[in-house]
């Protein structure tokens, strides 16, 4: 059944192209640092060299090897994105269903809370919190972004579940003596699975872009390398105005390629699975 | 019998789905005459809604008119609607000569505009120059004729109750006194009390001469029986029987008509007496219709020929039926 469901996805050109791009970048991040084992934080050679055979992406002001930085940075950014997504999703997948299933006052309280977090400008809040944290590991950044990112998902899960719970097949399963837990696993979760998967992808994007933004104003991870940190140093060292394009172009290209390929994957999935968007 | 108003000749309209055809209507001909209300009855998948689109020549992807003609008789001349480009239909035919009361009248009016503004928009398509006050006056008169307060046109659709909204839609659809009006299941979503009100309204349209003739499309014989004189019965993209409604109720000819009529359950003693009937099986997949008569797999009077040859509509005692039994 699942296989048959996903088959039409592989007919979508958009899906195929974007998944290839995504896999390529994931490989860059996972395998790259192994294939190209240069210390991303170390001193590699001459300053501010344009790309050459020796330094495929050139070097920065401190003689750091930019290819090594970009490969390791990709890895960190992916890690942060993934972790952010896990955190946001976990919160959303707890709050949304509780709100939908419990209903009543529980629902109203949880949804008010969700709406408040939704309306608080979360980027600003992330900046503010990050300011007070002296040590910011990649995990802390992900936690910060993850904790602020879940409300829209919780709301969507709640409303989808509400429509599922009132479906007649759910009532029929209950009439067959299903426990709430069994009902959730057999009838409810499959119904929101594709949506949750698509949201997970969007959360990854949020994490990657959020990290880059925080890093750029000096609030990124305090150790290690990330794509955002590479950009931050490029800005601090005036790389843009001094024409050192190899410093700030590659990390940006990777961010955009990564996040837009992920977004395209979700769009392609939506076109296949959402009957209202399916081409006639 | 009055003069012809609209005629569909040998129409085939197919939906193109993944390199295949869904033969939604297949070789269908129908004539509508002045002053008559024709009921078109059929169940889901019978092609009745496709037929309504063909009568208006509202052919949009994935539907395509493979074959056939749609003729409108206008002041002695004949216009072949199927040959007109869409823009021409929009400007000179739709809303002006032909019109429709759609199935879901609840949401048929632009929700975020006052009804009067929607009316003015319609007028702007048909006339180069319009006088706003004149149109509003005229529209208000029509609203009152139909039984909606004339202030309703200054309201948004959501401010009107269900029955009022339905009638406002009827008023808007008939503002320009179209010769031919399609009512596409206009009452199927309504509670019975509202339904009766709407049926009366539609009946009045003809009595007052606002429209010349009406095609009333429905799945419910009991409803159409209150309003139509002639009944067209459709099954699986074909017309199986055309006759006066009284005769059909007295003596249905086609086995499908018979089955359909005897499955109707109304609170009448006759129904309890005759019992409730049903047709076994399910309608065919119109991507692969059965050979011969499309009803033969479900027909209890099936002959050998039914599997091989397609029955044509033929005249039997002043009635038309497509069945080898006659």
């Amino acid at each position: 059944m699942w296989l048959a469901m996903f088959r039409p996805l592989f007919k979508s050109k958009k899906f195929l192209v974007s998944i290839l791009v995504f896999i390529f970048i994931v490989l860059l991040g996972l395998v790259g640092p192994i294939v190209y084992p240069v210390d991303p934080t170390g001193y590699a050679g001459p300053f501010e060299r344009p790309p050459s055979r020796e330094f495929p992406l050139g070097t920065d002001t401190y003689g750091g090897d930019l290819l090594a930085k970009v490969l390791n940075g990709t890895r960190t950014s992916l890690y942060i994105g993934f972790l952010t997504a896990v955190i946001s999703m976990s919160i959303g997948i707890i709050i949304g269903p509780i709100s939908a299933i419990k209903g009543g006052i529980v629902d109203e309280v949880l949804m008010s809370f969700t709406n408040i977090v939704l309306t608080i400008p979360n980027i600003l809040l992330a900046i503010l919190i990050a300011t007070y944290l002296k040590v910011r590991s990649a995990e802390v950044i992900a936690l910060l972004l993850g904790v602020l990112g879940w409300p829209w998902f919780a709301r969507a899960v709640r409303s989808q579940l509400l429509s599922l719970i009132n479906r007649e097949y759910v009532k029929l399963s209950r009439m067959a003596g299903y426990s709430d837990l069994r009902l959730a696993f057999e009838d409810l979760i499959p119904g929101i699975a594709t949506y949750a998967f698509m949201s997970f992808i969007l959360f990854i994007n949020g994490g990657i872009l959020g990290e880059a933004g925080l890093s750029l104003i000096g609030l990124g991870p305090t150790k290690g390398v990330s794509l955002g940190l590479v950009l931050q140093w490029a800005v601090l060292m005036e790389a843009v105005r001094r024409g050192i394009w190899w410093w700030f172009v590659p990390p940006g290209v990777i961010i955009v390629a990564l996040t837009s390929s992920l977004l395209m994957i979700t769009t392609a999935m939506d076109e296949v699975f959402n009957p209202r968007l399916r081409e006639k | 019998m009055g003069n012809l108003v609209l005629q569909v000749e040998n129409a085939r309209a197919y939906y193109i789905v993944e390199n295949n055809y869904v033969r939604a209507i297949d070789d269908v001909s129908i004539s509508i005459r002045e002053g008559e209300v024709v009921g078109i009855v059929g169940e889901s998948g019978s092609g009745k809604t496709t037929l309504s689109n063909v009568m208006l020549v509202n052919i949009k992807k994935p539907l395509s008119l493979i074959d056939g003609k749609v003729k409108l008789y206008l002041n002695g001349s004949i216009i072949e609607l199927n040959k007109l480009p869409r823009e021409e239909l929009q400007r000179n035919i739709w809303g002006k000569e032909t019109s429709i009361i759609p199935q879901s009248a609840m949401n048929a009016l632009m929700p975020t505009k006052r009804i009067k503004d929607s009316i003015l928009d319609v007028m702007k398509t048909h006339f180069d120059e319009i006088h706003e006050n004149e149109i509003i006056d005229k529209a208000q008169t029509r609203f009152e004729e139909i039984g909606v307060s004339k202030d309703a046109i200054f309201r948004y659709p959501f401010e009107l109750s269900g029955g009022m909204r339905q009638r406002a839609v009827i008023a808007v659809a008939t503002l320009l006194n179209p010769r031919f009006l399609i009512a596409d299941e206009p009452t199927s979503a309504l509670d019975v009390s509202t339904q009766k009100m709407v049926l009366k309204t539609i009946q009045n349209l003809r009595e007052k001469g606002i429209v010349k003739s009406i095609a009333f499309i429905t799945h419910d014989i009991a409803t159409v029986r209150q309003i139509a004189e002639t009944l067209v019965v459709m099954y699986a993209g074909k017309i199986v029987e055309i006759s006066s409604i009284e005769e059909i109720i007295r003596e249905p000819l086609h086995p499908y008509t018979k089955g359909l009529l005897f499955s109707v359950v109304t609170p009448e003693p006759e129904v309890k007496e005759r019992g409730i009937y049903h047709i076994p099986g399910t309608p065919p997949n119109l991507m692969y219709p059965p050979p011969g008569c499309r009803f033969h797999p479900r027909c209890e009077y099936k002959l050998d020929i039914c599997e091989r040859e397609e029955p044509q509509l033929k005249v039997v005692n002043n009635r038309k039926v497509a069945c080898f039994l006659y």
Partner: protein
């Protein structure tokens, strides 16, 4: 009659207002709690740093210390600190800057705020209009080349961070091609004034940061509106309108109008994110706005200034949020007049 018609509108608007007010209160509370709740007490770290920096003037250090102790009310019970904080915040006293001691935070923010508003408001509105129009056209012509192109373009563009696009624009149009200035809000050496010369100079500097926000923000709107329009294509009023002869143009205007309404509330929700992006864009462009001030405050760890900026920014976001919702309630008759439910 008139009063009756107003009722749903007022109800909607006042509900929004109360909700935003409560949320703002919570946001300020978070601003209050954060420095006190985070382990390692950043305030004492800060104080230590001030001493360590060993600025020459011990008198200055002492008065900075005194002001900070007062403003943060350290030593007092937390609820007194809290009440102090809130009352001062509502009086508009956002504390004293450390890096620019003894200037009041508000006096530092006031002159840079207009720059941010001038950059942000026109650019997000422009992006909203262009993005929605593009998306609506694409949705209306769904499946066409225009649609596919617009969609793919928007999918990529929507993922470009404002600031990175800013970097690319500076590098190509300023550094390489010398068409536009790549930094600042106006030429160095000129003094802000209401002269035509200055305004032209300002606009000249305005173009690149403006473009970088507009281009990257429009993609998201286009994607969203396209889907809304596609949903609307099969709506009953569209089919009925067409069969009454409405021109394609009119039908499009109907669909456009109805799909854009939810995007108005979308605008309200996106403001926070847009502001965050714009702040960083200002940093890239050395644009003399709040973002740049914030960046300075962050690098000097000027906590009172950082807090002040946040209280103002979050407040502005909520104010704008409310205004957008107000406009929304005005233009959507279903909200203004109160749609009867379940009819």
């Amino acid at each position: 009659m008139k009063g009756y018609a107003l009722r749903p509108f007022l109800k909607y608007v006042s509900r929004k207002f109360i909700f935003l007010l409560v949320t703002y209160f919570i946001a300020i509370t978070i601003v209050f709690i954060l420095p006190r709740a985070i382990p390692g007490n950043p305030l004492s770290t800060l104080l230590r740093q001030i001493f360590q920096q060993g600025q020459a003037n011990p008198e200055l250090i002492r008065s900075v210390h005194k002001t900070l102790m007062e403003e943060f009310g350290l030593g007092k019970p937390w609820y007194e600190q809290y009440i102090d904080f809130i009352t001062r915040a509502f009086k508009g006293d956002l504390g004293t800057s450390i890096s620019s001691y003894p200037k009041k935070t508000l006096d530092l923010i006031a002159p840079v705020m207009p720059w941010t508003l001038i950059l942000l408001i026109p650019s997000i509105i422009t992006a909203w209009i262009i993005g929605n129009t593009l998306g609506a056209i694409a949705g209306f012509k769904r499946g066409s080349f225009t649609d596919k192109f617009t969609l793919n373009f928007s999918l990529i563009v929507s993922q470009i961070p404002y600031y990175w696009l800013g970097m690319l624009l500076i590098f190509t149009l300023s550094v390489k091609l010398h068409i536009f200035p790549g930094q600042g809000g106006y030429s160095q050496g000129t003094i802000p004034a209401f002269t035509l010369k200055f305004i032209l100079d300002m606009l000249y500097h305005y173009i690149l940061p403006f473009l970088s926000i507009v281009i990257s923000a429009l993609g998201g709107w286009a994607i969203g509106t396209r889907v809304l329009v596609i949903y609307e294509l099969d709506a009953d009023y569209v089919n009925f309108g067409e069969l009454l002869g409405l021109k394609e143009k009119t039908v499009f205007s109907y669909i456009f109008r109805n799909s854009i309404l939810p995007q108005v509330t979308g605008l309200a929700l996106s403001l926070g994110g847009a502001l965050g992006g714009a702040l960083i864009t200002e940093i890239i462009f050395n644009y003399p706005g709040t973002g740049y001030l914030l960046f300075r405050a962050l690098s000097t760890l000027d906590y009172p200034l950082i807090q002040g900026i946040f209280i103002i920014l979050i407040g502005s976001v909520y104010l704008a949020n409310f205004l957008v919702d107000f406009v929304y309630a005005l233009i959507d008759p279903r909200i203004r007049l109160g749609q009867s439910e379940g009819s």
